[in-house]
Amino acid sequence: MMPDLLIALTMLSNFSLVATSRVSKAIQFAVFQGVLLGLMPLAMGLGRHFHIVLLAIAAVTVKGWLIPFLFRRALKQVHIQREVDPYIGYTVSLMLCALGTGLSLVLAHNLPLKPGTEYTLLVPASLATLFTGFLLLVSRRKALTQVVGYLVLENGIYLFGLLLVEDMPALVEAGILLDLFVGIFVMGIVINHIRVAFDSTDTRHLAELKD
């Protein structure tokens, strides 16, 4: 019951992500999504496993505190509010996002779950989130929004990871989480460099190298 609600919220946040034009809003949605997923394992009633609780806490801290902090720093530096003229308009993005969701349902239909798993929504939701992340990456101009897209994509993967969360080695889980964080961190640094070099984070400037 509870997990399905969270999953539904996640998918909702997907749509709002592609629909919003404000970068700060997009970031908030992404963070919100991250926190939802961080709480997911507890919602799935896995509180009894100690390492899972730890993991949940870690996830929430990283996605709910560290990463937003990074984003806000970057946002302050580049002081931009809205994503003007994205490659793909918002309405079209919404349609595409819906399409992606539909596609993920089809795909998930072809990937039978282990008999007796109650979270049937999990796989389509994770795929949909993945596609949403891709959509953001492909359709937006601002480097920052693209990072958001990357974050969303990672969320999708994390969502699927929950299927295995019970017996996934903590080592691997922690590694994955760490990598996500460092990845975002490095991207933040590069964005900063970009801002300094081009005094703008519009990726249009980043098309010098071509054949």
Binding site: V106, L107, K210
Partner: protein, 649 residues
């Protein structure tokens, strides 16, 4: 065998001392190559006289059949021209190249390596060693062609050559892969009976024909040859044209020697290609103004003659006609040696002309006969031989092929097969007549008449180091031409390699000694007449009789182009000469010029346009790498979706 390997090492090392010596590096190199020649010739002749040669097995990372290098009669036979020409070229380069250019030591080194890889190639009896030597040959030759890479022409020629040879190599990759599939190992061995008729056999034949055809310069795969030969230093051109092309023939010969039962059409294909290369080769030679390009096209022609011989032999083999087989293969093999001798001679003497005048353009030469008598003598001997005129060596090999073809007429070969011998006869006759015309043009334009330019008038005879190798080659030509019977047994032994005891009949040919006889008669008569002319009263201070015109000068004499004009017009349909014919108008027309040149049919009319087209196509596709990151990510997404959908479907 060990002797031969020693020779190989000596050749490979020949350039090394030159890297460290301040002076005399060239002499040392020539000396080492000479040593290699002595050792190698000794070893080869022993093998050709019936002593079994040895085999060497190398260890490489790849698994394979034993006997990676074998010194069989075929190898020994092909080694002879290699050794002769390489040492001749090295001697020649002392006067021709040494000290004139900066990169001499490197050139020497590479030249030695080329010789070594050629020697290794003839012995190779395993796909990997063969390809190793093959590529070694190709690349060293490429570097030699690039010797004068300051000229853009040379760079273009070198690049074209590189691409052509690599394409051929890739075809050989495929061929040897199929061979390995058949044998189960990459060693050289006879093919099982009946395989030749299957689709696999056909593929094998086609691949080998194409792969080796590129190297041999068979029309229409010849396009790299004229520019490369023109651009390379002359002693290198001699080695390339004289020997390197023959390695393509060697490959074909080896392949044919594995096939117990070639289908009829193989021989037919060989004959057809031979006729094409032969006739068109000499036809295109007629249209050239560049001496070395002209010689290059004649190489194509001679490769054609060799193919005619091979085709005849193959026909004989598949028809079970030992006479055709023997004469065809023997003629082809002998022509391989002959061509390397006289073509080497021709390229070397062309080099002396270039050395003396600095130009290869026939229209700017002339009258060199008085200024460089020895060189002109050498060139005349070469032309004499290449036109297949008795009593020089060119005649003997062509005579063998003629004989085989005529003999092929005798028995009824059955429907549709009678044609081949006639094709051979006709193309040989036509080639002979055209070659005669072409070399009359070349020799006349370069050495006879009046010098057409100042440089030609100031020409000087080449130094001894350059004349000596020419003399040696000329003597070799004469020897084979006058006394062919001496070489018949060795030739027979090599021809045996092509099939069961085919060559045995060769020495029994009654004609060979008779040719010597007629040659002697001819020489004797010429001598007598000469003696009769000598004592005559004479005065030679008059100008040429020009129908009453008192002061004829160089601009009045017949040019090379006008000499060939009649034939070029006759062959317009094939040559498609590009004629620049300005309109002369007005009462006092301004000075003008008439030009005509014959572009290469493949390179200039097919390959270059195709390449340009491809480049344009590629330029269109460049937008795929447009620089926009989202697009790149889109590629990732689309690939993923495509694969997932494909997986689900």
């Amino acid at each position: 065998m060990s002797l031969f390997l020693l020779a190989l090492l000596a050749a490979a090392a020949s350039g090394v001392p030159g890297l460290f010596l301040r002076r005399k590096g060239g002499e040392v190199a020539a000396g080492l190559l000479g040593l290699a020649a002595v050792l190698g010739l000794w070893a080869s002749l022993r093998v050709l006289s019936g002593v079994p040669g040895g085999a060497v097995t190398l260890r490489t990372a790849s698994l394979g059949a034993p006997g990676f290098l074998v010194l069989d009669p075929l190898a020994a036979f092909f080694a002879i021209p290699v050794l002769l020409l390489s040492v001749a070229g090295a001697l020649y380069s002392l006067g021709y190249w040494e000290g004139r250019r900066g990169n001499t030591p490197a050139l020497r080194l590479v030249y030695g390596l080329l010789t070594a890889s050629l020697l290794m190639l003839v012995m190779a009896s395993h796909a990997l060693t063969f390809l190793l030597a093959w590529e070694g040959m190709a690349i060293t030759a490429f570097l030699l062609v690039m010797a004068e890479d300051r000229e853009p022409e040379t760079r273009r020629a070198g690049w074209i050559y590189l691409v052509a040879t690599h394409t051929g190599t890739l075809l050989l990759f495929a061929a040897f892969a199929l061979l390995a599939k058949i044998h189960g190992h990459s060693g050289f061995a006879a093919l099982p009976t009946g395989l030749a008729a299957t689709r696999g056999g056909t593929a094998l034949f086609a691949l080998f024909l194409l792969g080796f055809g590129f190297k041999a310069g068979v029309l229409p795969l010849h396009f790299w040859l004229p520019p490369a030969h023109a651009a390379a230093p002359s002693h290198v051109s001699a080695l390339m044209s004289g020997v390197m092309l023959k390695m393509g023939i060697l490959g074909l010969v080896r392949f044919l020697s594995w096939v117990p039962d070639p289908p009829i059409w193989w021989g037919g294909a060989l004959v057809a290609l031979g006729a094409l290369s032969g006739v068109l080769g000499v036809a295109f030679a007629l249209g050239q103004h560049d001496l070395k390009r002209l010689l290059a096209y004649h190489s194509i022609e001679n490769i054609g003659i060799i193919l005619l011989g091979l085709g005849l032999g193959a026909l004989g083999k598949s028809l079970g006609n030992p006479v055709m087989q023997t004469l065809g293969f023997a003629g082809a093999l002998l022509h391989v040696v002959n061509h390397s001798l006289f073509k080497g001679l021709l390229f070397l003497s062309a080099g002396s002309v270039l050395h003396a005048t600095g130009t290869r353009n026939l229209e700017q030469l002339g009258g060199l006969g008085q200024r460089m008598p020895w060189t002109s003598g050498a060139f005349l001997a070469g032309s004499w031989a290449i036109c297949g005129l008795p009593p020089l060596n060119g005649f003997v090999s062509e005579w063998l092929i003629y004989l085989g073809a005529f003999r092929g007429l005798g028995p009824n070969l059955g429907p549709g097969r009678q044609g081949w011998p006639v094709v051979i006869l006709l193309s040989l006759a036509l080639i002979g007549a055209l070659a005669l015309a072409c070399f009359a043009k070349a020799f006349g334009a370069v050495f006879l008449g009046l010098p057409r330019t100042g440089t030609a008038a100031r020409a000087h005879e080449a130094p001894r180091t350059m004349l000596l190798p020419m003399g040696l080659l000329a003597l070799a030509c004469l020897a084979i031409g006058v006394a062919p019977i001496l070489f018949a047994p060795a030739l027979g032994r090599v021809a045996d390699a092509m099939g069961p005891a085919t060559g045995a009949a060769l020495p029994a040919l009654a004609g060979l000694p008779m040719i010597s006889l007629v040659a002697l008669v001819l020489g004797l008569l010429a001598l007598l007449l000469w003696r009769w002319l000598r004592p005559m009263p004479r005065r030679d201070d008059r100008p040429t009789w020009d129908c009453g015109y008192a002061a004829p000068d160089a601009r009045m004499q017949y040019t090379a182009s006008s000499f060939a004009d009649g034939l070029v017009r006759g062959l317009r349909w094939a040559l498609r000469p590009a004629v620049h014919l300005p309109k002369v108008s007005g009462w006092f027309p301004r000075p003008t010029r008439y030009e005509s040149h014959v572009p290469d049919p493949i390179l200039d009319r097919a390959a270059a346009p195709a390449l340009r087209f491809t480049v344009r196509g590629a330029a269109l596709l460049r937008i795929a790498q447009g620089g926009a990151l989202p697009v790149y990510l889109l590629y990732v997404l689309l690939t993923l979706l495509a694969l997932l959908v494909w997986m689900v479907a």
